[in-house]
Symmetry: C2
Subunit: 268 residues, 2 copies
């Protein structure tokens, strides 16, 4: 799968791409089937909400589940990523942000590079964040909000917010965020389950809490050029993977026909 | 000002009314002009957010400001209320819910009668809640969410939530709220500043946090029939007024021509 010139131009201009029906209902069901067992695990890479105790995010999934190990190499994610960034990419972070019905808390305005630079010593904002919506996402259940064009302004001032939620984050300075929104507005990333999202390391984004009765789980893999790997190692492996082996895309049916994936790997 | 038969039928069916341009820009400006001094007062009737310290709600305003004293008797609020409920209404609660940009926290799903009955011993769900949007309200800055038709189901199960926010509230049981939304959906009350809202004591409503750069202040007065007055007095006067004198509507220009209001009152 390759992105069209029009899609590449849109990504360049707005800073994000929404790809409806990137994954089928059967593929989404296969991904979701692995979640209950992963949620149930008692591990520090399952992070709960500050209040209420619902799971907020589960991380390091490619090391914990064979299916997620294949998903991070799925050609509908890996090939566009190699096309946009570099041919040699490693798996930096793999998670499902859950945002449970009634409980899911806000993700404050931020851009990923603030954390990648300050916490991990990543040299340049070249990583890509690739999402798959695992639930239908509407305006009420905590959609991702993008600020179109915010990626063109370069790294914005941030501060380390350890209080608002259970997940410490370098978040955007309010005056800067207000200025970016005055210019670009807010674009909520809505869509049916199976929709894909792609955005870069400087895109300012966030998401509101979920007070609706509808869960909102999103899969996310961050792929980073091997040549741009982290240089400091303060965070645990599930927040920034230390295996810098370049990923090789698997077969297109690798989620539904696991054997095909393993055959491809052994034939390589 | 009288509501039309069509508006009364809509209120009966959906449980709420949205009245665009109920107040003019000049009137909204007059109301807003009183707010900074009220915000600045150190009083227990100014309630701050749990985190960050922004003002969440300021209460008892008709006792603290001559303008708000007139606003609760404004004919565009008081006459529809007398038409819908009873001719003799007293001022039960007067506030501005602020929901500041970046900081404003959620109001959980609730209906007002749960609090009016349990905390104040109000006999029946006859009170009306009348709002004026004091900022433009869009989908991003914490609009009120109504569940259309929820008022027809009678008092729903609730629990007393003293943890989620700085304001203790009898909130809707989640299974019940999910069922009501499955039936009626979620209707966000959007509109320009000056828009009016009317809803009754059983309407299940709430509002999400405000992570946008746009403030969202809403004026609210609750009017309750004198014959349905509170019977227990656990809450302070600014949460439930104890002056059961029926209100008399003032002149239509009472916000912009204060003299007209005082002349009417002295002529009575």
């Amino acid at each position: 799968m390759k992105l069209t010139d029009g899609q590449l131009a849109e990504l360049e201009s707005k800073g994000f791409l929404v790809l409806p029906e990137l994954f089928s209902a059967a593929e989404v069901a296969a991904i979701r089937a692995d979640l209950p067992a992963l949620f149930a695990e008692r591990t520090e890479s399952n992070i709960r909400e500050k209040e209420g105790g619902a799971v907020r995010t589960i991380m390091g999934l490619h090391l914990r589940s064979a299916l997620f190990g294949r998903l991070v190499r799925h050609p509908r994610l890996a090939e566009p990523a190699r096309q946009i960034a570099r041919p040699k990419l490693y798996v930096q972070q793999v998670k499902v942000n859950v945002k449970a019905a009634f409980e899911g808390d806000v993700w404050q305005w931020h851009y990923d590079f603030a954390t990648h630079r300050r916490d991990d010593g990543v040299p340049a904002p070249l990583a890509l964040n690739l999402h798959i919506l695992l639930d239908d996402v509407n305006q009420f259940n905590g959609p991702l909000y993008f600020i179109p064009g915010s990626h063109k302004h370069g790294p914005a001032p941030t501060y380390h917010d350890t209080a608002s939620t259970s997940y410490p984050l370098w978040v955007g300075d309010r005056a800067t965020v207000a200025g970016l929104i005055a210019e670009g507005g807010i674009a909520p990333a809505l869509g049916k389950a199976g929709t894909g999202l792609i955005f870069g390391d400087l895109m300012v984004h966030g998401s509101p809490g979920n007070m609706s009765p509808w869960d909102r789980a999103i899969f996310s893999v961050i792929l980073n050029p091997v040549a741009n790997a982290q240089t400091t190692f303060a965070r645990p492996d599930y927040k920034h993977g230390t295996d810098f082996t370049p990923i090789e895309p698997l077969a297109d049916d690798c989620l539904l026909v696991p054997a095909a994936a393993s055959q491809m790997q052994s034939a390589r």
